[in-house]
Structures are given as structure tokens and as C-alpha cells.
């Protein structure tokens, strides 16, 4: 099966600044892929290279098998930029109409209504973009990215302007997209969000992928915490399979066990370790 996004040996140099120094990654069909990294790590450059907005200095990027930037690649792509703006004079419905025409989508009014409902903007179809809050514009941006039923969605910080309810809406939307088989590359600073929804994650630092895998793979076992009458106790070397034995032995020893928790380091720990070398 053709990967939704395939990046190989991608390098990008701006003058003397190396934004990307050889990135390889692949996003499968219907996969939710998280891109993490500090500011200036090269995440947005990578996303823009996939959109054909930035020309690689070396390497290749393919979207659904077509070279990034080609009309074929754009036909299967939806994109929401980190720093985007829509014409403030037009309405939400007019913006979606424009993108339908450019994308060659035959979805018509039904598609526009469905997309606005999906992002919770059904009531704002006739509202001028200039009168919308930043959060509403970001949700409209998501609807715009979904015009034409793309196979790959590139989202650069899509929840940066959203309140907690809005973020939950986006999480639900991403899960809905996964169920529809749409691949998503999610570039976000919100590790908890990425950990909650993404199948796989790549951590980028100084223009290179420094760690990659599922959120579970990236986090490490942290032992077992047992809560007894004497208080919580952490058995650092213990693993999940040893929990029944530990409980059995404690009960046999006359201790009262109130709770047991298997500990793992968080994605944040893995992120800091990968980016800054902190264990």
C-alpha cells in the first residue's frame, strides 16, 4: 500500500541555517502521526515541504505516491497552517465554496454543511470571517482543510487558539478521520494531546528525527506503585506481570492493599530526554 506521506533524506537550508538535516519518515494510510519538537526544530518546514510550499535542498517528499507540490499530490491533501489567515471580508460558506472550486470538489452545499457541523460552526455559515474569534477561525481552517475529502491532512498546531472544549472537539474529529481512513500528520506542542490521539510519534530536534515510535514505545516502564496502610510504596524494578505476585506476598505478609498502579514514564519525559538529553 502507498504511504500517505513518505519523506526520505529531506534537507532544507535557508542561507547558512540548516532547518532540516536529513529527515526520513512515513505516515501510513489512516494513521494519526504526531510531530513533536521545540520551536525552531524544523517541524513547520517539514510540513511545508510536504505541501510543496518550501522547496527541499535535498531529498524527496511524496504525498500518496505523487511528488510533493504536484497537482496530484495537492489533490489528496488538506492543510491548515500554523500562521494562517482567511480573507476577512468573506463568509465561512463562501470560503468553503472557494476551496471546493479550487479542489474540484463536487460536494456542493451538503459537503459545506457537513464540514461546518463537524467543527461546530453550523450556525456561523453566513458569518463574516472578520467577525469570528481566532478559535472559530481555527475551526473553520480545519473545515477548509477537509474540503474535497483529502487522504492526508497536514495540521500545523491546529489547536493553538482553541479552548479546552474546542480541543476536545478536534480530538473527536481526529478520531473520526482515523475511522474514515484519513491519514493525519499532527504538528503540536501539546504532548498530552498527541499522546491521547496519535498512533505514532516522531520527535524532531535540530532538524533531525531524534526519536520515533508509538507513544507507548517511547515511554519507559517506571515500576509498580502499591498503596498500603503504611502509605504508597514504589517498587522501581517491578513490571506489570509481577503485580499478582506482589499483591499476594503483601497480603500474605499481613499488609492491607488499597491500590496498585503500573508506572510508566510519560511522553513528556521521553520528549525531554530526546530533545535535551534529560533522563
Amino acid at each position: 500500500m502507498t504511504a500517505a506521506l513518505s519523506v526520505s533524506g529531506l534537507r532544507k537550508t535557508y542561507g547558512s541555517v540548516q532547518a532540516l538535516v536529513g529527515v526520513d519518515l512515513e505516515v501510513g494510510e489512516g494513521e494519526l502521526f504526531g510531530l513533536l519538537g521545540p520551536n525552531g526544530a524544523g517541524k513547520s518546514t517539514l510540513v511545508k515541504a510536504a505541501c510543496g510550499l518550501v522547496h527541499p535542498s535535498a531529498g524527496t517528499v511524496a504525498v500518496c505516491g505523487a511528488p510533493a507540490g504536484s497537482a496530484e499530490a495537492h489533490a489528496g491533501l488538506g492543510y491548515l497552517a500554523e500562521l494562517f489567515r482567511f480573507p476577512d471580508w468573506c463568509t465561512a460558506d463562501e470560503l468553503l465554496q472557494l476551496h471546493q472550486r479550487l479542489a474540484g470538489s463536487g460536494g456542493g452545499a451538503a459537503e459545506r454543511a457537513e464540514l461546518l457541523e463537524l467543527v461546530g460552526l453550523s450556525e456561523a455559515a453566513a458569518r463574516r470571517i472578520g467577525t469570528m474569534s481566532k478559535g472559530m477561525q481555527q475551526r473553520l481552517g480545519l473545515a477548509q482543510a477537509l474540503v474535497g475529502s483529502p487522504r492526508l491532512l497536514l495540521l500545523d498546531e491546529p489547536t493553538s487558539a482553541l479552548d479546552p472544549a474546542g480541543r476536545r472537539t478536534v480530538r473527536a474529529l481526529l478520531e473520526e478521520l482515523r475511522s474514515r481512513g484519513v491519514a493525519v500528520l499532527l504538528n503540536s506542542h501539546l504532548l498530552s494531546e498527541v499522546e491521547l490521539v496519535c498512533d505514532r510519534v516522531a520527535i524532531i530536534a535540530r532538524g533531525a528525527v531524534v526519536a520515533a515510535g508509538s507513544p507507548r514505545d517511547l515511554s519507559r516502564p517506571g515500576g509498580v506503585e502499591v498503596e498500603t496502610a503504611a502509605g504508597p510504596r514504589v517498587l522501581e524494578a517491578a513490571s506489570r506481570t509481577e503485580v499478582p505476585r506482589i499483591v499476594r506476598e503483601l497480603v500474605a505478609a499481613g499488609e492491607e492493599v488499597y491500590g496498585v498502579r503500573v508506572l510508566r514514564s510519560s511522553l513528556e519525559d521521553a520528549y525531554l530526554e530526546a530533545v535535551e538529553g534529560k533522563g
Binding site: C51, L53, A81, F84, R85, W89, C90, R101, L102, A103
Partner: protein, 284 residues
């Protein structure tokens, strides 16, 4: 071609919604009213002089001069419109984040540039043609004078302003909005100054100044087209009236051959190629 139409229509719709055309229409009406008042007053004064004085027809001289001035005003208004419709079309819109969502659609950069040019160039060309025609009709209404040529000068002005729109659009690929606006107005000013210098050079028989002005007219063909349009107003006029026109403020204008028209079209294409190549290489 369909995407070009979509981009062009969207650009025009933006101008309508932002009331650009309303402002332009109101100011243009004001310009034409003032022009009408001036023309009426001039012809009232000229009528006092009588029909023909020493072989010089004052109606022709008045009409050619005042319509020549209206032509300058029309080109200037068209230039203002062309510049403001295009000055931030690429770099400005990219810096504001407006351009990227459009270019991620199956729309090539060439399509986007062509759509923007057709909208801006088309509107400005039609605009200057209509304003010039209106000025000519006002002159005829008050002075009973009609230029020797009307279609040629009208098309010359239209092509001239389309070239300015193309230059401004190309400038928007390389320059920020403010720098581009300043650059295009300075180029426009340089072209007109060169044209005036050419006329002064001709009056004083300075071959060097005339050659320099001609070189600028070829380098900036909107100036050559404007001069040709001016010349077209009285191209069939002869005798002492011709001599009097030649001594007037717009008297040094020279008619253009087919070469200028061919070069102007080639120039448009050349500006388009430079803009496209620059845009194709630009990271957004």
C-alpha cells in the same frame, strides 16, 4: 483555465466587497465633473475668440490639449488602481498567511498569478478605456470637437495600464507591499518624466535627450503607448493648427508603429516569465 477564472473572480469579488470599485467610481465621477467644468469654461472662452484665427483652429487646440491632460489623468488613475490591486499579491499575501491555503489546492503558482493578472489588468484596462471615452464625449459635448483617432489611443492606454499592473504583480513576487508600491510609482513617474524630456529635447533639437527618452520609452513601453495615444488625438491635423499643437504641452508626442504594439505585447509576456520564474523559486 477554470481555476484561473475562479482566482480572477475571487479577486474581483474582494474588490467589490472592500468597496474599492465604489470609491473609484465616486472619485472618477468627481474627476469627470471637474473635467467637464474645465472643458465648458475653456470652450466658452475660446468661442469669444471666433472660429479660426490666422489659420489656427482654437477648438482643435483646446480639445487636443484638454483631452491630452485628461489622458494623463486617466492613466494616473488607472495606475493607482493597478498598483493597489496587485502590490501585495504574492509576498504580501504570503506574509499574512492568505496565500498558502490557496496554493495547497491543485492550483499551480502560474494559475494563481495569471488569475490575479487577468482580474487586475482587465479591470484597469476597461477602466481607463471607459474614462478616456467619457472624457472624449465630454469634450465633444462642450466643444464640438472629436479626436482624429479614438480606438487606437483607447487601446494604447488600456495596454499601458495592463503593463503597469503586470509590473506591479511581478514586483509583488520580489518586494514587500510598501517597497513594491513605491517602486512601481517611481517607475511610472520615471516613464512620464522621460516622455516630457523627450518633448523638450525635440523642441530644443537635443539629439542626446531625445535618444535617452526613446530608450526609456522602449524600456517602459507604457510611456511609449501613452505618447502614441496623445499623438493619435491629432494625427490627421495639419497646417498652422498642427504647428500650434506641436508648440503646446503635449505637442512633442510621436505616433507609434506596429513595432511598439508588438514590443508591448512581448514585454507583457517577458514580465510574466520573470514573475513566474521568481514565484516558482520562492519558499512560502
Amino acid at each position: 483555465m477554470s481555476a484561473v477564472r475562479v482566482i480572477a473572480a475571487f479577486t474581483l469579488r474582494e474588490s467589490v466587497r472592500r468597496r474599492v470599485f465604489v470609491v473609484v467610481a465616486v472619485l472618477t465621477v468627481a474627476f469627470l465633473v471637474l473635467y467637464g467644468l474645465g472643458t465648458w469654461q475653456l470652450y466658452s472662452d475660446v468661442d469669444d475668440l471666433g472660429e479660426v484665427v490666422a489659420g489656427v483652429d482654437p477648438k482643435v487646440i483646446t480639445g487636443a490639449t484638454i483631452l491630452g491632460l485628461a489622458m494623463f489623468g486617466t492613466l494616473f488613475l488607472g495606475t493607482v488602481l493597478a498598483v493597489f490591486l496587485t502590490l501585495g499579491a504574492v509576498r504580501g499575501d504570503a506574509e499574512r498567511g492568505l496565500l498558502q491555503p490557496l496554493l495547497v489546492r491543485p492550483v499551480s503558482r502560474r494559475t494563481l498569478l495569471l488569475g490575479r493578472f487577468l482580474a487586475a489588468g482587465g479591470v484597469c484596462a476597461v477602466y481607463v478605456a471607459l474614462v478616456f471615452l467619457a472624457a472624449a464625449m465630454i469634450t465633444w459635448a462642450f466643444g464640438d470637437w472629436w479626436p482624429d483617432r479614438i480606438v487606437g489611443p483607447m487601446l494604447g492606454l488600456a495596454l499601458g495600464v495592463a503593463i503597469i499592473a503586470a509590473l506591479s504583480l511581478a514586483g509583488s513576487v520580489f518586494l514587500s507591499s510598501t517597497a513594491n508600491g513605491i517602486a512601481v510609482f517611481m517607475v511610472f513617474g520615471a516613464g512620464l518624466v522621460a516622455g516630457l524630456l523627450g518633448q523638450i529635447g525635440e523642441a530644443l533639437s537635443s539629439g542626446t535627450v531625445e535618444s535617452a527618452a526613446k530608450a526609456v520609452s522602449w524600456a517602459l513601453p507604457f510611456e511609449g503607448l501613452y505618447q502614441a495615444a496623445l499623438a493619435g488625438l491629432t494625427v490627421d491635423t495639419i497646417g498652422f493648427t498642427r504647428l500650434a499643437i506641436d508648440l503646446g504641452p503635449f505637442g512633442g508626442a510621436e505616433p507609434a508603429g506596429l513595432g511598439l504594439w508588438a514590443w508591448s505585447v512581448a514585454y507583457l509576456a517577458l514580465v510574466g516569465v520573470v514573475a513566474l520564474r521568481g514565484f516558482a523559486r520562492r519558499d512560502l
